[in-house]
C-alpha cells in the first residue's frame, strides 16, 4: 500500500488549468522530490496532496481516499511545511511547535500534559531544547526551518510534504536541514514528498524524482534517469552539464555562448 497515490489529477485555478492529468506514487518510507521549471505546478501538486485543494477521487493516502478523510484525521497523517511559513509576531518556539498538536486537541478544548510532553520530546530530538522560550521571529533562517520541521513532527504525521524546504537557507544550512530530514525519515520511517529548485541537492537526497512541466509529468525515475542534459534542455531550456557525483548526478549550469 503506497503512502501517496495520485491518479489523473486535474487542478484548475481561476479557470486556468494548472495540473492536467498527473499520476504519482510514493511508497511508504520513500523520498520523492518533484522538480520542474517555474509555473510547472509543483506547489499546486503538493497542496492537492495535502488536502488544501479539492481533488475528488484523484488522491489516496495510505489506502484511504483523501476526500473521505475529515480534516483533523488528515492532519494526523499528513504534515506540511510551507515554502515560507507565516511567523506570528510574539509567538514563542514552544507555542509554535505546540500548534502541531492541534489535530489532537478537542475543538474548543486545551492541550493536555501529554501534548506538551510530545512537544518537548520533538524539541529535544531537533536540538531545540534551549530555544523553547525564544520568540520565533528572533531566530535565524536555519533555526526557524528546524522549528517549522518540529511543528510538522509534533503533528505525529508519517507523511511530510516539504515545499522548497531550503529556499531561504545558505548552502551549509541547506545541507544541514536535508540531512536532518533524511535522518528523521530513516529513524521514524517517514515518507517525504518535496519540491526543490536546486537540482543537484534534490538529486542527492531523493530516492526518486518526478519532473513536471506545464502541468504534466514529463519524466519520473531515479535521479540519474531524470536529471539528464537532454530533459533539462527541453523542459527548463537550460544549458547544463550533468556530472556524476558520489551520491547522484550533479547539475552544473554552463553559459551557452559568450558575447564577443
Amino acid at each position: 500500500m503506497p503512502a501517496v497515490e495520485v491518479r489523473g489529477l486535474h487542478v484548475d485555478l481561476d479557470g486556468t488549468p494548472i495540473l492536467t492529468g498527473v499520476d504519482l506514487t510514493v511508497a511508504v518510507g520513500e523520498w520523492v522530490t518533484v522538480i520542474g521549471p517555474n509555473g510547472a505546478g509543483k506547489s499546486t501538486l503538493l497542496r492537492a496532496v495535502g488536502g488544501l485543494l479539492p481533488a475528488p477521487g484523484a488522491i489516496t493516502l495510505f489506502g484511504t481516499p483523501s476526500a473521505a478523510l475529515r480534516r483533523r484525521d488528515r492532519a494526523r497523517v499528513v504534515a506540511t511545511v510551507a515554502q515560507s511559513p507565516v511567523v506570528p509576531p510574539g509567538m514563542s518556539v514552544l507555542d509554535y511547535v505546540l500548534l502541531g498538536r492541534t489535530p489532537y486537541i478537542a475543538t474548543l478544548g486545551r492541550e493536555s500534559t501529554a501534548d506538551v510532553d510530545a512537544v518537548h520530546e520533538v524539541l529535544g530530538r531537533l536540538d531545540l531544547t534551549g530555544f523553547h522560550r525564544r520568540e520565533l521571529a528572533t531566530l535565524s533562517g536555519g533555526e526557524r526551518q528546524r522549528v517549522f520541521l518540529a511543528r510538522a513532527l509534533a503533528q505525529g504525521a508519517t507523511l511530510l510534504l516539504l515545499d522548497e524546504p531550503t529556499s531561504a537557507l545558505d548552502i551549509g544550512h541547506q545541507q544541514e536541514v536535508l540531512e536532518l530530514v533524511d535522518q528523521l525519515r530513516r529513524e521514524h520511517r517517514l515518507t517525504v514528498l518535496a519540491t526543490m529548485h536546486d537540482l543537484s541537492l534534490a538529486g542527492e537526497y531523493a530516492d526518486r524524482m518526478v519532473m513536471l512541466a506545464s502541468g504534466q509529468v514529463v519524466a519520473a525515475g531515479t535521479p540519474t534517469e531524470v536529471l539528464t542534459e537532454n530533459l533539462l534542455a527541453t523542459h527548463y531550456r537550460a544549458s547544463v552539464r550533468v556530472v556524476l557525483g558520489a551520491h547522484g548526478p550533479l547539475v552544473v549550469p554552463i553559459r551557452p555562448t559568450r558575447p564577443q
Binding site: 497542496r47 495535502g50 488536502g51 488544501l52 480534516r71 483533523r72 484525521d73 488528515r74 492532519a75 494526523r76 499528513v78 504534515a79 506540511t80 510551507a82 511559513p85 507565516v86 506570528p88 509576531p89 510574539g90 509567538m91 514563542s92 514552544l94 507555542d95 509554535y96 505546540l98 500548534l99 502541531g100 492541534t102 489535530p103 486537541i105 475543538t107 474548543l108 478544548g109 486545551r110 492541550e111 506538551v116 518537548h120 523553547h132 522560550r133 520568540e135 521571529a137 528572533t138 503533528q155
Partner: protein
C-alpha cells in the same frame, strides 16, 4: 509587541516551560481592576460616598449578607438605583468593545481592526438611528424604554457593515492587505454615516434623542439597559472565549490552519458574527464610544503576551474597568455638567492610535 515582555515571566528551574495562556496573576489583576472600578465608580459623583460604605453596601446585595454601611436610605438608593446600573453597564459595554476589538484583530490578523475602524459601529449606529427615526422609539427625548429588539436591528446593521468592509477590502486582491481592510472600513463608515445624516435630516424631530445617544449615553442608564445588553453580552463572550485557542492557530494563516485540521473560514464567520453582535449590543445601549477596542487589547498584548488565550479574557476584564473608570472622569472632570464619554475615550484613543500605527508599520507595508 516584541522584546523584553517574555522576560517578565519567572525564569529558573522552578518554572517548567508552559504554553502561553492566561496566567493566574493577570486574571487576579483583571478581577481586581473590575472591583476597583466598581467601588470607585459607585463612590464618586455629585454626592461623594465613602468607598468603604459603598463596598459594604455592594456586599449587601448578595443574599445572606447584612453589613451596616452607615449610609442613609437616600444614599443607598443612589448606590443601587442610580450609580450601580451605570457602572455595571460601563463594565459590560467596555468589556464587550474590548473583547470585540481583540477578536477582530485575531480574525483579520490585523492589529488595527476595531469595531469602529471596520465600520461595524457605524452600521449599528445607522440601524439604531433608523429605528428611532422611522420606528418612533425613543420619543420624548429619551431612549430609556428601548425595545429589546433594538440590539437585533443594530446587529443586522453591524453585520451588513462588516460584510461590506470584508468584501471591499478583499477587492484589492485575493487576500487583501491589512491596510486595504482598514481603508475599506473607513469608506464603509463614511457611507453609512452619510446615510445616517440623511435620515436625521429627513426626520429632524429625532435629532435630539439620536444626538444624545450618539455621544455615548451612560448617563441615563438604568437596570433596564443592563438587562437589554446582558443576554447578547453573555452570548458573545461565551462564543469568543471558547475560540481563543483557535485564534492562536489562525495566526499562522489559513492554509496552515487548514493543514492543522481546522476550518478557518467557518471559524472566521462565526467569530465575526459574535464580535459584531457584541458591538451591536454595546452600541445600541450606549451609543458610539470609540477606541476601547484598540486601546485595551493592545495594552493587554504588551503586558500579558501575544496569545489570544490571554488577550481575550483580559480584554473583557480590563476593557470593562477601563470604561467604567473613564466614565468617572467623564462625569467629574467638568462637574456639575458631564463630558460625553465618547469624547473622553477619543481624546485618550487618538494619541494611542498613533502609537499602535508605529508598532504596526511593519505589518502594514
Amino acid at each position: 509587541m516584541t522584546g523584553p515582555l517574555s522576560v517578565a515571566r519567572p525564569a529558573g528551574p522552578l518554572s517548567v516551560a508552559r504554553p502561553a495562556g492566561l496566567r493566574k496573576r493577570w486574571l487576579v489583576a483583571g478581577l481586581f481592576a473590575v472591583l476597583v472600578a466598581l467601588v470607585v465608580g459607585v463612590s464618586l459623583g455629585p454626592v461623594s460616598l465613602p468607598p468603604g460604605s459603598v463596598a459594604a453596601e455592594l456586599l449587601n446585595l448578595f443574599p445572606g449578607v447584612h453589613l451596616d454601611s452607615g449610609l442613609t436610605e437616600r444614599e443607598i438608593a443612589i448606590v443601587t438605583e442610580l450609580r450601580l446600573p451605570r457602572v455595571v453597564l460601563g463594565l459590560l459595554v467596555g468589556g464587550l468593545l474590548a473583547l470585540a476589538g481583540g477578536c477582530y484583530q485575531g480574525v483579520f490578523r490585523n492589529p488595527l481592526a476595531d469595531p469602529y475602524l471596520l465600520g461595524v459601529a457605524a452600521g449599528a449606529g445607522l440601524a439604531v438611528t433608523a429605528a428611532i427615526a422611522l420606528g418612533g422609539a425613543g420619543q420624548q427625548g429619551s431612549l430609556s424604554g428601548l425595545p429589546m429588539t433594538i440590539p437585533l436591528a443594530a446587529f443586522a446593521g453591524s453585520l451588513l457593515a462588516v460584510t461590506m468592509t470584508y468584501v471591499l477590502g478583499a477587492a484589492g486582491g485575493r487576500r487583501g492587505s491589512p491596510a486595504m481592510l482598514i481603508l475599506a472600513g473607513v469608506a464603509v463608515s463614511a457611507f453609512l454615516s452619510a446615510g445616517q445624516t440623511y435620515l436625521l435630516q429627513r426626520h429632524a424631530d429625532s435629532i435630539q434623542p439620536v444626538y444624545s445617544w450618539l455621544l455615548g449615553r451612560l448617563a441615563t442608564a438604568g437596570w433596564h439597559d443592563v438587562l437589554l445588553v446582558l443576554p447578547y453580552a453573555a452570548l458573545t463572550t461565551v462564543v469568543v472565549l471558547l475560540h481563543r485557542r483557535e485564534l492562536d492557530v489562525l495566526a499562522v494563516g489559513d492554509d496552515e490552519a487548514r493543514s492543522l485540521g481546522l476550518h478557518p473560514q467557518r471559524t472566521r464567520y462565526l467569530l465575526i458574527a459574535a464580535a459584531s453582535l457584541g458591538t451591536a449590543a454595546a452600541v445600541s445601549a450606549t451609543g458610539l464610544i470609540g477606541f476601547v477596542g484598540i486601546i485595551v487589547p493592545h495594552t493587554v498584548r504588551l503586558l500579558a503576551g501575544s496569545s489570544y488565550r490571554a488577550i481575550l479574557p483580559l480584554s473583557l476584564l480590563f476593557g470593562g474597568a477601563f470604561l467604567a473608570l473613564t466614565d468617572v472622569v467623564a462625569r467629574t472632570a467638568a462637574a456639575p455638567s458631564e463630558v460625553p464619554i465618547g469624547v473622553v475615550t477619543a481624546l485618550l484613543g487618538g494619541p494611542f492610535f498613533v502609537l499602535v500605527l508605529r508598532t504596526a508599520r511593519r505589518v502594514l507595508t
